[in-house]
Amino acid sequence: MKVGLLGLIVTASLLALVPVPASGQSAAPKAPPYNPPRTEDGQPNLEGVWQPRTSGAAFSILPHPGGFFLGGGSETGVVEGGTLPLQPWAAAKAKELTQHMELDPTGHCHYEGIPHANYFPFQIFQTPKYIAVLYENMHARRIIYMDGSPHPRDYLAWMGDSRGHWEGNTLVVDVTNNNDKSVFDMAGHFHSDVLHVVERFTPVDKDTINWEATIDDPKVFTKPWKMKFPLKRAPQDFEMLESGCFEGERDAEHLVEGLATVPKDHYTEKEKEKEK
């Protein structure tokens, strides 16, 4: 009896947490907002393996052509508006960096940092006090603390420091404590150590999360900017394997001279067509 009552109370409080759709308020017929399942402690449940659809953001977050080392290319990129508000010195440095791919930290097996790590598959686990995100690539990981604790002082990291909270069904993650060495992509887009990223993970159906981030870095850009892409749920039997990038480390020497020395034969037929 006692347990039954407790169960009733728990159920009632869980029900109270489920937002009731405001019905009949707008005249236009609108699909009701997606209401994700809940974890046992009442959080919107985002658990699972997620595969981002980034239009080749790892190559460039801006619109870019396809080709050797560039994948299929993208006409849109993932940056809102298709351009970056770079300060003039930063635009010059970004251009120079494209000629020095040997400096790309991911080529040296470093952590990608946020948002870069999100371009690769990851698995989300949710506990009442923290959400763990485990990435396959570089076996990177981060723990998003959900207990309202502040960012640590006197600490910088490749993956920064993540603290999160819920706004309705959206997981909002505040990322600071980033070092100035991780980069946004392989196209020379970089940031400084005052980088502040605010990510929003919004589940829109059972197999899709809309991910977007506001990037704030006054040392490199003239104003904050946004990027976004969807995350798709991986098939049920999908398991992440170990990725040990440092293996042998023979890639670094091939990257020394960068794209400039790639033989023309390595471009796809489509790319050759374009050049004619």
Binding site: Y111, Y155, G244
Partner: protein, 270 residues
């Protein structure tokens, strides 16, 4: 006399209250026994709760025979010979993952997280991770990994993890105790108290040892308030040198209190 009687009543009342709120087998619940018969708290899905940040306090990372049963590793003569002729540089010096069971007793903390069907180990060392399914699925085939393939199941109070597919190049410690690709490790994690886990691993490798042998050690909970795992990036400054940096130095202060003003665009005359 009246005072004594009063406290006796109070004691009876407390015991009665405890008995009333606990299950029929309540004698244990009142005073949990420490040691192998300790009954660990449960997760919402009824599994022993191993969650928290744990660390070893021994020298096994330097010489695993410290924690081996009988302080002895039963080498086959030919395996000892192979070891003597093998590589002399510890693979972790080049930021390779240390393998299992070595990752457990690296002198760095690790965090255990449990979700239904999963036990996840997040190691501070090399930001290594093991996502272990507790469904006793078959081992993967045809690929060796530095941390191997781990499959778990529960036996009463114990998490049992079966590890195969281990890369033959990993060492068991810095004292160059080696193994072959036939290594098979069975780990057992059993809570023995509020802040301790008994860790036991049976190490079997018919190409290297004459018989399976065992290591065991306590894991201690890190009880420092506010303690969190931090980033440990071995490949820092990667140029082939063995490096084990401590945490990166950082500018002093709160990251959000640093100057955060965008440059003002200058008015230009046309």
């Amino acid at each position: 006399m009246a005072k004594e009687l009063k406290s006796a009543f109070l004691l009876v009342a407390i015991v009665a209250a405890l008995l009333a709120t606990s299950s029929p087998a309540s004698a244990q619940a009142i005073r949990p026994k420490l040691g192998p018969s300790y009954v660990a708290p449960r997760t919402p899905d009824g599994k022993p709760d191993l969650q928290g940040i744990w660390e070893t306090r021994n020298a096994a990372a330097f010489d695993v025979s410290e924690v081996a049963e009988g302080h002895e590793i039963p080498y086959l003569p030919e395996a000892l010979d192979r070891e003597q002729k093998g590589p002399r540089v510890d693979p972790i010096a080049h930021c390779k993952m240390p393998g299992v069971p070595r990752i457990t007793y690296m002198p760095f903390p690790f965090q255990i997280m449990q979700r239904p069907g999963y036990v996840v180990f997040m190691y501070e060392y090399l930001h290594d991770q093991r996502i272990i399914q507790t469904n006793s699925r078959p081992h993967i085939d045809g690929i060796d990994l530095w941390l191997g393939d781990s499959v778990g199941h529960w036996e009463g109070n114990t998490l049992v993890v079966d590890v195969t597919n281990l890369d033959e190049r990993s060492w068991l410690d810095s004292a160059r105790h080696t193994h072959s690709d036939a290594l098979h490790v069975v780990e057992r994690y059993t809570r023995t108290g509020p802040n301790t886990i008994n860790y036991e691993a049976t190490i079997e490798d018919p190409k290297t040892y004459t018989r399976p042998w065992k290591i065991s050690m306590p894991l201690y909970r890190n009880t420092e308030p506010g303690f969190e795992l931090r980033e440990q990036e071995c490949t820092e400054g990667d140029n082939g040198r063995p490096i084990h940096p401590l945490y990166r130095p950082a500018p002093k202060g709160d990251p959000l209190e640093l100057t955060r003003e965008y440059p003002v665009k200058k008015e230009t005359s046309k």
